[in-house]
Symmetry: C2
Subunit: 327 residues, 2 copies
């Protein structure tokens, strides 16, 4: 009996040590098809977590992931853009002040066509209004309600169900191996924080996104978000955001578009072993197929650089056994 | 035997669950004298970690700490200011370009008096040069060398030895109870990240500080820090920084000066149970005694508000059994 107790106590000690448990036996990435890309990822994780030349201390195992098109779907339009327009419509319909602008009056009346005439400018206006016209607490409630109810036009599912199962597995696999996982997205931190913990296991404080300038309102002791841009977390803004906010260069970066190119570049200059990966949307049947000429999630220069530098191009059609959990 | 194995397995399950272990038995804060303040802290931690009305889920246990004057000494001058001037001297002595400015030529030649004639302006100039004139990797090496060698004029100890033992205990006690501890400092993130993990157990990515604008240099794939201010993490900048970067309102905030007032205010508007604390420097013999009229670490308005709102005023002379570990 003593012997058994001793063994169990040793097991407790091992499994409770600060070093995380090694990946559970069996396939850590069951939604990935076997192949070179899956094997490269697994080999990398094994190397950096095993004593030897390529070992990376746990505090330096920083992994960064783009969100739109990398962790969840971004077609036919970035989901946060759809949200922003929906919310701006709701906010404008309650505000005589905002309805002084003809395009917002049109939107409030459900005339989407008139509102969208401005193209990108209309989208940015909706982004600024939806994020700044209400208090952050109200923003969070609106975002959560939207995420619980709005339905994707093609898949007829909630947007939060359109996360990629193999990517969610990869996030967990990395964390099980001592990595700290971050989102580094062109979308807003405010929006992403409303679902990142629930759908990805990534807490609010590990989300870096685009941020509007915020102010502290002294009399009410509250935060008010303005319409001015503070940090544009896209392209060169991504390594800058990581530098400022995480303060360490990642050893793994995963993106899907030219907006991620600089983040992958910067990661690949790490003197520690590192891995840069791009998710290539190749499956029109199960999801979407797009790259060089696409308006949303354009993958052109980054694909060229990936091929030159040997970054991993993950092929959704070939590499993903399952794309969405609901399949 | 089966029964014992079962009990041990249950113990394994309990101790390995994501909820951290309760604080070890015995006094979790041995460097604090027994008294109301220590008891208030312990009661708060017990309440928010125990099932009941005041329980706070683990992901919401965010604790924020000012650094200068709260976690380590800030007299006779903020240590980072001393560092900035030392580094600017070293950088200017290597740069004909910088020596075109008379005050920097004087500094390069060891004439501190002439350099410091500009007062606060000189300090800010030194801050900007020391943080921007060299690459971030070089900055880190210089900071580490300085921390390993520079000596405090009064205590004749390295600056990193001038952390407050009771505060380091408190950080650990909070983490042992599932809190995530952050530094929210008027000092620069870049500087603080060079010692926060080692002396406080706070990793780089949990440090928010003042930040200069940084740029991504496309040709070299590297980050360059500029001389322009991006985020002034002082006064109202503190709640703003927490909102932008952590994305959650803390339930515990600890500061020592008027620069922390807004952070404590904002924390005390949390709808969850919360605690705001101020470290009052009252011990001229073992450390320093200063508050309302002090130039460094002025504690005036925040002390008035503390008394009005019942924030905890920790009295270093009364509440700290030990101040520095080397005592």
């Amino acid at each position: 009996m003593k012997k058994i107790s001793f063994i169990l106590i040793v097991l407790v000690a091992i499994s409770c040590s600060t070093v995380p448990k090694p990946a559970t036996s069996g396939d850590p990435l069951p939604s990935w098809n076997d192949g070179t890309n899956k094997q490269t990822i697994i080999n990398f994780v094994k190397e950096v977590t095993t004593a030897g030349d390529k070992f990376v201390p746990i505090e330096k195992r920083i992994a960064v992931f783009d969100n739109d098109g990398t962790l969840w779907c971004e077609q036919p339009l970035y989901f946060e853009m759809i949200y922003s327009v929906d919310m701006t419509k709701a906010i404008a319909s309650q505000s005589k002040e905002l309805q002084k602008k003809p395009e917002l009056k049109a939107l409030a009346n459900g005339d989407m066509k008139t509102f969208m005439k401005g193209g990108e400018k209309s989208i940015l206006e909706a982004f600024a209004i939806s994020h700044s016209a209400v208090k952050p607490e109200v923003f969070d409630k609106m975002a959560q309600t939207w995420l619980d109810t709005a339905i994707h036009p093609r898949f007829k599912k909630k947007y939060s169900e359109l996360t990629y199962k193999p990517m969610v597995e990869l996030l967990k696999y990395l964390r099980d191996n001592g990595f700290k996982t971050f989102i580094v997205s062109g979308g807003s931190s405010q929006f992403i924080r409303n679902f990142s913990e629930k759908v990805y296991g990534i807490p609010a404080e590990q989300v870096i996104g685009t941020m509007l300038k915020a102010k502290y309102d002294e009399p009410t002791h509250s935060i008010a978000v303005t319409t001015d841009l503070w940090h544009n977390d896209d392209k060169e803004g991504k390594p800058v955001g990581i530098f400022q906010i995480i303060g360490r260069k990642p050893i793994l970066a995963f993106g899907n578009s030219d907006g991620d190119q600089q983040m992958l570049q910067w990661t690949s200059t790490n003197t520690l072993p590192n891995l840069s990966l791009i998710l290539h949307h190749t499956d029109a049947e199960r999801e979407y197929a797009y790259d060089r000429p696409s308006k949303i999630g354009q993958l052109d220069k980054a694909m060229t650089e990936a091929k030159e530098k040997g970054w991993i191009l993950v092929d959704m059609k070939q590499d993903f056994k399952t794309i969405f959990a609901f399949e």
